[in-house]
Symmetry: C2
Subunit: 395 residues, 2 copies
Amino acid sequence: MKIAILGYGTVGSGVGEIITKQKTQALQGIEIAYILEKTKNLHKSPLMCDDIEKIVNDKSVEVVVETMGGIEPAHSFILKALSAGKHVVSANKAVIAKYLKEFHDCANAHGVKFLYEASCGGGIPWIHNIWNVKRIDEIDEIHGIFNGTSNYILDHMAKEHAPFADVLKRAQDLGYAEKDPSADIDGYDIENKLKISASIAFDCDVLQDFPTFGIRNVRKEDMEYAASMHKTIKLMASAKRKGTHCYAVVEPVLYDLSYMEAAIPENFNLTCLHGTTIGDLKFYGQGAGKLPTAHAVVQDIIDIKEGIIQPTIHPEQSFVYDASLMSAPYMLRTTLTESDVKQILQDAIASVTEYQGLLYVTCKEITTAQMHQYANAICKLDSKAFLARIHQEAV
Amino acid sequence: MKIAILGYGTVGSGVGEIITKQKTQALQGIEIAYILEKTKNLHKSPLMCDDIEKIVNDKSVEVVVETMGGIEPAHSFILKALSAGKHVVSANKAVIAKYLKEFHDCANAHGVKFLYEASCGGGIPWIHNIWNVKRIDEIDEIHGIFNGTSNYILDHMAKEHAPFADVLKRAQDLGYAEKDPSADIDGYDIENKLKISASIAFDCDVLQDFPTFGIRNVRKEDMEYAASMHKTIKLMASAKRKGTHCYAVVEPVLYDLSYMEAAIPENFNLTCLHGTTIGDLKFYGQGAGKLPTAHAVVQDIIDIKEGIIQPTIHPEQSFVYDASLMSAPYMLRTTLTESDVKQILQDAIASVTEYQGLLYVTCKEITTAQMHQYANAICKLDSKAFLARIHQEAV
């Protein structure tokens, strides 16, 4: 089975490495026919080619692997490949989150597959296992740690009592974080993965206007305050559904140290679901990195080769955002005065504590939507304020 | 696709419930044709039948689901069904651990499938994910919490500072533990699951003469001693391979409280593997229970219906047990005197502490095989002695 790899960066070259070096039976017969690369790189391999038309017009190519990243030209190349009757495997969460419905529709119209295991949770077999659970169950809840960089920062802040900026700098030096770290620390990367995961789990096209609060403002003192209550802070994505209602959020969460979620170290990811008969399932692994992510891409290629049935999603199902589905107590840290905070939060306040000269406000159980509105109002006055949900055991 | 269910206890009736109540597309067309039950139960359903010959001779039955438990007649019924050209799905770890090679050989000889996802880790999609990882990687290590009852006991001992006997009694009252709890607390149940898991992961027939030390002797004081070092005790199954050498063990392990393994609550299971390109993967879920276990059985039935390729194992590969593959520091607790212990452990001793009137000996890194020999020698003098490996981060 001939494949073409579009983009030969970290993940693309990892796919090449796995296909040429690993010697399993399932990989037999998978052959790289083209690698789409910039013109200046063509001398590096006889497989390299800078012409997408040549690739999509070659009838012997059955699978196109998109590992370019970014929105364009990835978006148009994926559509070109699907329209030419080629299966497409992509690791590109940004373009998939934006065009999930269009890609599925195009793949269905041309009788080919569009697979994207590597787009969420890196090497974790997450999407595959969601599909499988859905063969039997309705999934009503998903959550997880979907970003390794932010988990690395929080884990090291907690273990070393180190300030955010110092750990971020180290993550950048190690290559875990980008020079512009906003996608990781402001939660945008997680938004994309949550949108994709929830769309599959709930069988709809989840919109992306759910609230997001990242970890840009998290301070050493916040982690120490959490530790003083035997808790730690994790940046979580969460989505719930009830019938055709759903809600989703990306926000920091205070977990008791005895929880599995609290124990996820370094840049690992954890992805979790709850289904009708299976109950809770959780999956842990490398959420990024060359070979683990490439492994997930190659799993999709093998699924295509073996003709495994992967259901499509039905994004025409109209789900409505329902803020009543998600509520919890919250912690808010600010440099505002207690009376300023009370003007905004009013009845929502359960208690106020001073810790290391900062104001820590605990809010009663409140809808996530309402709390994020309050947090936005507070951030207008104190742009460095920090918000975290206080995890409660599901009843 | 017509199926027959042999045995309609907890798991078998769960399979019936899922097939009749869940309404997914993947379940369409799966029809229960027979339920093999004792003669006295036949009045309960027109599907019930007490004659295995009638079932295996009915050409319209494509899949036989064995949820009887025990060795016989499960063993001979599985062989009868396979020999009659029927796919077999089994949840019965005892019979599979014993006859894994025979069942695979018989299935191969008759061109049918023998699947057993539910036999290890209950509802966790563990075997399926091992197969998938092996499509690309070599797996060199597996470990996990494979028994919910013993994890329930250890978790509640740790959280409530309760004695072993009290928590065991409660587990029995709740139906988690059998009247005769030895399969759970002495590690025999885990031995079966480790043998099955390692045979698939390493692609060989793992023998069952590896060392096992259960939790029958664990005391409140042991858990408190662990807690004083910020650790807890978990009953773990572990297996390693290097080329065609492997080693396996079932034993209590002291984990630092910050570890994911330490955070597995109640009667949940955790199953873990390490592969060439994927690195660490860990799977968490219900290791037992009617619907989660039945869910795993039904996943196998759907795989058969959808024609998914599941590779067979190659139990003809001869692996040798190699004690040099596994070594660690250990903790041993005994009522013997320090000089008695020194006579047995000699140079292996790193330090000796008295805690609540009991002797806690820490041993230097030593092969697991040697340590279990020492522990057996000590148990001959002090039948209540307790052994636990001290977990070390892999380098």
